[in-house]
């Protein structure tokens, strides 16, 4: 079959015409995706096609992990065991304290008639791979629509926030890391209680606080936790630590860089937190009442 002469007279549109057709198609897709977000269904279908490949590509790392797990030496296991039991004891003590504090807290909140903070449910997931997109900081995790994961869910590891779910596919989800350029987290300084907005820089391990007045009280080593006012991240999760504060009077705002506390670049297990309890709706803006005097003047 391969030895038949090539169909010389039946070649279809010229390459240039094909280039034009497919370029137009791509541009239409690009605009539909970037401007209007029309392509969710098409994305889902394509995602199902790529899924086996994605799992297959993640296999070597997993197998490597299993092999290195198998060859753990006896002494390192014993060391680990000792360290973990010690940690366990410390954590147990802390848990007991927390429990007592929680009881006290609910009691006090009851007295104040304040709404109780709900514990949010969580889904465990594993990071499959980091997307090879140099323009963004994203990772893929191995839980998706099948576990009712939705876009906007916060993702944390055992230390702190690593990002939020931005796209959900049938068995996978895409997590935008807090280091992604354009990702914002509303935070609070634990030491002073000052609220601020923490922005990613697109640089691994570097975050910056935006629009902080020069006189604001921020120091190196300050710990920042989520403030919870955005309705995305529950309050009180550790996010970052201030590493450098630069105050230059030539600028309006202080230049504050931070580094994330969670292992943002590590491949590890993560938790996808459940939806936040709905925040109360914004009150409707009342129409400005123009004072009578002004009207008379004009």
């Amino acid at each position: 079959m391969e030895h038949t002469p090539p169909p010389l007279f039946r070649t279809g549109p010229t390459p240039l015409a094909r280039l034009m057709i497919f370029s137009m198609l791509s541009v239409v897709l690009l605009i539909a995706d970037a401007r209007f977000n029309y392509l969710t269904f098409l994305r889902q279908v394509t995602a199902v096609i790529v899924y086996p490949l994605q799992r297959l590509a993640a296999a070597p790392a997993a197998i490597g992990g299993h092999i290195s797990d198998f060859f753990v030496t006896h002494s390192s296991l014993r060391n680990d065991n000792q360290r973990l039991s010690q940690q366990n004891l410390e954590l147990a003590r802390e848990t007991q304290q927390t429990r007592a504090l929680q009881l006290e807290n609910t009691h006090l909140r009851g007295l104040l008639a304040a709404r109780e903070k709900l514990a949010v449910p969580a889904t465990a997931a594993e990071i499959l791979y980091a997307a090879r997109d140099p323009f963004a900081r994203k990772v893929m995790i191995d839980q998706g629509l099948q576990r009712d994961i939705e876009a906007g869910r916060p993702v944390v590891d055992h230390v702190g926030v690593i990002g939020q779910v931005t796209r959900v596919y049938p068995w996978l989800s895409e997590v935008t890391l807090i280091t992604d350029k354009g990702h914002l987290v509303p935070v609070m300084n634990v030491r002073t209680g000052l609220r601020a907005v923490l922005a990613g820089t697109g640089d691994d391990g570097k975050l910056e606080l935006r629009f902080i007045p020069l006189a604001a009280d921020f120091q190196n080593g300050d710990r920042l936790v989520t403030s919870g006012i955005d309705g995305v991240y529950p309050p009180g999760l550790p996010v970052a630590e201030v590493t450098n504060v630069e105050r230059n009077t030539a600028y309006l705002f202080a230049n504050i860089t931070c580094k994330p506390v969670a292992g943002v670049n590590n491949h590890a297990q993560v938790l996808v937190l459940g939806p936040m309890p709905a925040t109360p709706e914004r009150p409707e803006e009342t129409k400005e009442v123009t004072p009578q005097k002004k009207r008379k003047k004009s």
Binding site: P15, L19, L30, A34, R43, T46, L53, A58, Y129, K181
Partner: protein, 173 residues
Amino acid sequence: MSGPSMTPQELLLPVRPGFIFVTLVAALLANLLSWSGWMAWLVPDFVALLVLYWCIHEPRKIGFLAAWLLGLLMDIADGSLFGEHALAYIILAYAGMALHRRVQRFSMAPQILHVIPLLLFTDCVVLLVRALAGADFPGYAYFLGSFAGAALWPPLTHLLKLPQRPRPDPDRV
């Protein structure tokens, strides 16, 4: 007619479409492997490299549709804009097809000199699309992958031509 940079063309067996398909899937798989640190910048876009290779060596066997679909799959896997890689790959495929007679006649070193600008141009298309969508320039390390890809061109050519080399004739003494 034959200058110093030209090589005599080999007689090769026709390539099987199944083989092209397998190599493209393998390239997609290689792209999905998770690289970290400096490797992530150095690793070339294997799919772009393979699309270019097949467009130059077998322009009748691979079409625009294949390049375009591969681009869409890459967009999903990367979580980038839908159509970004698709656009880049079809432009690359067109360039490969337009230049295939010329590139095939050259020996390895000048071939690499053809491959580098083509891969860089593909990078620029992606960069342009992302810039229009509001992303920042990611730094010059972004272009390293294209040079790494061009460096892989000779071993890749050798490897992919292996199944096409005719077997030694047992009757010949």
